[in-house]
């Protein structure tokens, strides 16, 4: 993992959706196991998890009429969105998301990379650079 941004490594860590290995703030996504686990006793096959996931983690078993976790490595570290929406509470995760992410954040010292990503985000979307916090209160 690169420390200060220079050379090819810096180019490789700028995003999470680049070609090749998925990265999470500069860290190889594959170092971590984080994915939904479907309890098929409880799952009614409504499909909301598949519709909700923006990362294509789920596919659909037409024979069983249930979702299948087909691409666990694409699940966003710490994300539990599908689980919170599941009407049957049929989706679990390997760990408490906050404890899991805190550990990953601390052991990889991601903040220098986060800072670079923040600068890049504000360069790309200048309207997100706000001052005073009053004129843009979301109302």
């Amino acid at each position: 993992m690169s420390e200060r941004g220079s050379g090819p490594a810096a180019a490789a860590v700028t995003g999470v959706h680049g070609a090749g290995a998925k990265r999470w703030h500069g860290v190889e996504r594959s170092m971590y196991e984080w994915f939904p686990i479907v309890d098929y006793e409880a799952c009614t096959g409504c499909g909301l998890c598949l519709l909700t996931c923006g990362n294509g983690v789920f596919r659909w078993s037409s024979s069983g009429n249930v979702p299948v976790v087909a691409d666990p490595g694409s699940c966003v570290l710490g994300c539990t969105t599908c689980g919170k929406l599941c009407p049957e509470d049929a989706i679990k995760f390997p760990d408490d998301p906050k404890l899991f992410l805190e550990k990953a954040i601390r052991e990889n010292r991601i903040y220098p990379q986060v800072r670079r990503e923040l600068d890049e985000r504000l360069r790309k979307y200048p309207d997100h650079r706000v001052t005073g916090g009053v004129e843009n209160d979301g109302k």
Binding site: C46, L48, L51, W60, S61, T81, P87, L118, D137
Partner: protein, 118 residues
């Protein structure tokens, strides 16, 4: 910014504005690390950032993905809060019961046949 022209205005047929789900930043706790800002996708981009005060600011709350609280999870300073998620589950249940989710699933599998495992 009042109108949603980005496709985020409706959630499975429900007016997004009727769904109480977005982050709130506690500025007394926020240290300005920016992780929440970059955790949120560029498409939704709920947060702004005040470089002078070094605070994250919620500027597009209605862009927040229903059920997602990844920014809250990522914040080591516990500076971000969300409403109780249990009403979302109830809303989801009603959308399954009235057939809306089933219709969308059918369309999705038709539009994207590779989604289905044979």
């Amino acid at each position: 910014m009042t109108e949603n022209d980005n496709g985020f205005g409706v959630w499975h047929g429900v007016d997004r504005r009727s769904i109480d789900w977005h982050p709130t930043v506690d500025e007394d706790r926020c240290v300005g690390c920016g992780l929440c800002v970059v955790t949120c996708s560029e498409r939704r981009n709920v947060f702004g950032f005040d470089p002078e005060r070094r605070k994250a600011v919620v500027i597009y709350p209605e862009n927040c993905m229903v059920g997602c609280d990844n920014c809250r999870v990522a914040c080591l300073w516990d500076a971000i809060s969300f409403p109780d998620p249990s009403p979302l589950r109830e809303l989801a249940r009603s959308l399954v019961e009235n057939g809306r989710i089933g219709e969308e699933l059918e369309i999705r599998l038709k539009t994207d046949p590779a989604m289905a495992l044979t």
